[in-house]
Every structure is written in C-alpha cells, then in structure tokens.
C-alpha cells in the first residue's frame, strides 16, 4: 500500500462538472467511505483533451502542465489523482513530453512565464488514476473488510477504454510485472470489483475504442463501435458494464440510445461507474452516488438483484 495515496491533490476536470457529475460525486463518496482524502486543485483548467491536442499538441502540454504546476508548486502535493481517462492520459503525456522533449519544455516555460506562474518541472509530481488511488491506497484486503453490501450475483464487464493504457510509453509504471497494471489486459478495476463481491465476466473488449473522439462529428462510426462493445458484453453474460471514464461512460449511454433509435438495435446491458458500484458495496446510498443521473437505469437492475 502507498501511504501517500491516502491524501492526494484532486483534478476532476471539465467532464466531471458536466455529464460526469455522477462520477465526481461517487468518487468523492467512495473516498470518504474508505478514509481517502482529496484536496481539489485550485483554479484548475481544462487538460486540453483530445480536441486541443488536435489543434496544437504543445498547447495541450501547456494546459496540463499548468494544472500540475499548481498541484506541485502551490499545493506542494506529491500526487495528483484524475478520475477521467482523458485528464489522466494528458497529465501523463505532459509528464513524458516534459521529461523527453526539449521543445515542449521550452514552450511550457515560455507560456508559464507569460501566464505568470512557475513552470511545471518533470519528475516533481506523480499522476495517478482513481483506480490506482483505491487499489494502492486501500487495496483489496481492506476493501473486502469494509464491504457491507456485497455485489454478489452481479455480472460485470470491466471496460477501460483507450486512454488508460495507450500509448504505452506514457505509462512507464505499467507492465512492470506482478502487482502492476497491464496495458494489454488491464485488471485494476476487475480486482476492486471482485473484492466488492462482483462476478467479473471474461470480456475481450476491455480496451476497445468507443469512438469517443467522433461521438458527435461521426456519430455513425461511434454507434457501430459502441454497439459492438455492448453486444460483446451481453454475449459474455454481463448485466453491467463498469466504466472508469466520463467520455466512455456517456458515449456508451448515448450510443446505446442512438443504436436503438437510429438502427433499431436494442441492448439492455447497463452502464455504471466503477465508483458507483464500489460505493453501493460500501453501503453508500445510490442517490449519493448519482445512480439516478445515469441514462441506463442501473438502479432497477440493482434492485432486481437485491443489491440496492
């Protein structure tokens, strides 16, 4: 277990103030239930997401570095936690670029100087995902002891998406043998939900793409990609797809509806954030976890299974 994960700087990001509101709420609720503390980064800005990266990758690096500069230089934090795959990925990417690319360093120093704050220096902050935070801050054994409402009987397909594991060079701590995360077959979410009593199904599309980049600009492609994921989860016997990214989560939900309306393809698997599932196992009320904010009706399923 890592002691310094028990109090971390928290970077929710834009999506968690919008469509991912329930992910924000459930992350905080699970942290509270497990005795993990979060200090939100002051005056944080957008990490740059994929959109700014497409316009100019160096601006994305600067935007992410500003968040890291505030966490490291002003808040004196050692660890920053981002629950959103996009934010997590971009902070990791900025860390990598600043450590390896002199041009990125020069641009960040220049823009930070003009913006009036200290530039972020590579190696001063550790960026982690909400999965790392719970897996290494608390661990399965303690989690098991704290489960009050086992997810027994719930069949879960764990969906990690693209940004959590790819490209591998920005995640030097992954693929380092037993106990570390795998980029080809990630398992941290599986481990946590298994500790909470859920039955993980063998799901081959853990890191498949939901087409989130073009969810509105090329909706037909996104719908086809999502439908493939939903069908594979159902074929694997899953009741629920557990998610760990607000873009993936809302993409799966949106295109589940779109597949039904536009293609006439109905699927019934429900989407829940892994933090919502953990929260329920820890005895937090579904309302506090924002389960009613999800588009797919997870609550009805949990009631049916006698879990909520």
């Amino acid at each position: 277990m890592k002691a310094d994960y028990r109090r971390v700087a928290y970077y929710p990001g834009c999506a968690l103030e919008g469509t991912g509101h329930a992910y924000n709420q459930s992350t905080k609720a699970v942290g509270k239930a497990l005795g993990l503390a979060l200090d939100e980064v002051d005056d944080w800005n957008c990490c740059g997401a994929m959109e700014v990266k497409n316009v100019d990758p160096k601006i994305q690096t600067y935007l992410s570095s500003r968040v890291m500069s505030i966490a490291a230089n002003q808040m004196k934090a050692a660890v920053v936690m981002a629950p959103c795959n996009g934010c997590y990925h971009n902070l990791k990417k900025a860390e990598y670029d600043l450590a390896h690319d002199p041009t990125s360093r020069e641009v960040v120093e220049r823009l930070s100087g003009k913006a009036g704050h200290a530039p972020y220096r590579a190696g001063t902050l550790e960026t982690i995902h909400a999965l790392d935070w719970i897996k290494m801050g608390v661990g399965e054994e303690e989690l098991k002891r704290r489960v009050r409402n086992s997810l027994k009987g719930l069949k879960v397909a764990n969906y990690y998406g693209c940004m959590y594991t790819r490209p591998r060079h920005i995640f030097p701590e992954k693929d380092q043998g037993p106990g570390t995360e795998s980029t080809s077959k990630p398992h941290f979410m599986d481990d946590l939900l298994a500790a909470a009593g859920a039955q993980n199904v063998e799901f081959p599309l853990k890191t498949a793409c939901c087409g989130g980049a073009h969810t509105l600009s090329d909706s037909d492609t996104s719908t086809r990609l999502v439908l493939n994921i939903l069908r594979a989860a159902e074929a694997a016997g899953a009741d629920v797809i557990a998610t760990e990214c607000p873009t993936c989560h809302s993409g799966l939900e949106m295109h589940q509806v779109r597949a039904e309306k536009v293609l006439g393809e109905k699927t019934t698997v429900r989407m829940l954030y892994f933090t919502q599932l953990l929260g329920i196992a820890l005895g937090v009320s579904p309302r506090r976890l924002g389960v009613h904010e999800n588009v797919s009706d997870g609550l009805a399923l949990l009631r049916e299974k006698g879990i909520a």
Binding site: N45, A49, E51, V55, L111, R166, R168, A213, K261
Partner: protein, 254 residues
C-alpha cells in the same frame, strides 16, 4: 463466373474486348481481361516534408511498412478502405493523387492509439493521420471536417475561459455545422434521464448550463496561448507554401 483477382483491380482499369486478335490468338471476352498500365507522373517530392512539418507527422520517415498500424486499426475493422499503412506509403513516395482518392475518410481516425501501441518504429501513426487530415484542409483539398470544427469550438472555449461547458460545446458545434440540436436520439436520452432526476437537481443542472465555468486568473494564460496559436499557424502555412492569413483559425468565433 466472377474472377476473384479482378476485384483487386479498380474497375476503371479493367479492359475487355469484344473482338481482339493478337498474333493470331483470339483474346476477346471475359477470360482475357487486360489491366490498363498505370503511369504516375505527378510525384509531389515535398509531400513527406509537408506532412512532417505538421504536428503529429514528425516521425513519418521512420516507417518501414510492416502494416501493424492497419492491422490494429479500429476504423479499418469497419471500413477496409481506411488504411494508414498505405497512406504513409503514398506520402513517403509523394503519390499525392493516389492519396487524394481517400481524402474524405482520413479525418475519421478515432485516435484510439492502437496503431501507436503496435508500431515497432515509433512512427506515431495516430499523429500522422491528424497531420494528413490537417494537410488536406490547409491545402484546400477538403472542407473542414466536422471533427475539425468540433476541435475548434472546443479549443476556443478552453482558450477563452480555461474550461469547457459540455452543453455549450454541443450547442455551438451543432449551430456551426448547421445541424438541428434536437436530434431525436438526444431528445430520447434527455427524456430518460429527466424521468428519474429529482426536480431540484434538474433546476441545478439547467442553471449550471447558463453560467459559464471559468478558471480564475486566466487572462494572462489566454493571451499567451492565443499568441502562440497564431505564431504556430503562420509557421505551418509557411512550411506548406501557403499565403499568410489575416486572422487566425482558433478564436474566429470566440
């Protein structure tokens, strides 16, 4: 009976003759199909350098054509014409007119980075796809794709306020691409959520959409980024041999 090999040749390059005798041998009809010989006259020797001058395209020269990118590609699995390996080949050979045959689908890369993960040469094919899509737009071969418009709407909001508000991004995107906001599937989705959302929370969400989230103390960062965007854009247009533009791309509608 269909001949499989024929499907590998573009139909416009297939030649069959009703009556043709060559050296006393009758080569008429279906079984004696000829292929029009191809001659490429219009090599663009600057093509690889131009792609390499755009963000993401820097490492295209490393490619040794193993095809791992196309093999792992998410979009290729649903559209076999989407072929990053082939496009990289065409760019490196300078075969511009061949590349332009696929100009309307290159922007469809979903940035899943499976190619980048698989590439043994660190070409970063995902970046090459973005660079190529930008090149097509900058050179005027294609109009701005919906994806580029989305990126710009998004980036303008980030530069202006430090953050985005998703509802506003969606509204602006639909307005700028001339699509109705009330798509029936979006309406259906809103209905499903509204059914279960307590009244008070619905009001809170509606209010949140009215107030733009902002990062405090953003003004200096905004100015610094806007200046950098402008500088970079001028730099790229120069690398592609294009005339300088009076106003810059991002910020047009902010």
């Amino acid at each position: 009976m269909p001949i499989h090999e024929k499907t590998l040749i573009r139909p416009e390059n297939l030649r069959t003759h009703d009556k043709l005798v060559v050296d006393g041998v009758d080569v008429s009809g279906h079984w004696s199909t000829f292929i029009e010989s191809r001659v490429v006259r219009d090599y663009n020797e600057a093509l690889q350098d131009e792609i390499a001058a755009l963000p993401g395209g820097e490492h295209i020269h490393r490619c040794w054509q193993c095809g791992s990118c196309t093999n792992s590609c998410t979009v290729n699995a649903i559209n076999p014409d989407f072929n990053p390996r082939y496009w990289i080949y065409l760019i490196r050979m300078g075969m511009e007119s061949e590349l332009l045959r696929d100009k309307d689908i290159i922007w469809q890369c979903v940035s899943c980075n499976k190619c980048t993960y698989a590439c043994p040469r660190d070409v970063f094919p995902e970046g090459v796809m973005k660079a190529t899509a930008h090149w097509l737009e900058l050179k005027g071969h294609t109009p701005k794709s919906k994806s580029t418009i989305f990126d710009q709407v998004f980036t303008e909001q980030v530069v202006a306020t430090g953050k985005i508000e998703e509802g506003r991004v969606i509204r602006d995107f639909f307005a700028r691409t001339g699509q109705p906001l009330l798509q029936d599937w979006l309406v259906e989705m809103a209905k499903r959520v509204a059914r279960r959302l307590p009244f008070k929370q619905g009001i809170a969400f509606a209010l949140a959409a009215l107030f733009r989230p902002r990062t405090r103390g953003w003004a200096k960062a905004r100015a610094a980024i806007a200046e950098y965007v402008q500088e970079q854009e001028a730099h790229r247009r120069k690398a592609l041999g294009l005339a300088a533009r009076a106003e810059h791309e991002v910020g047009d509608g902010a």
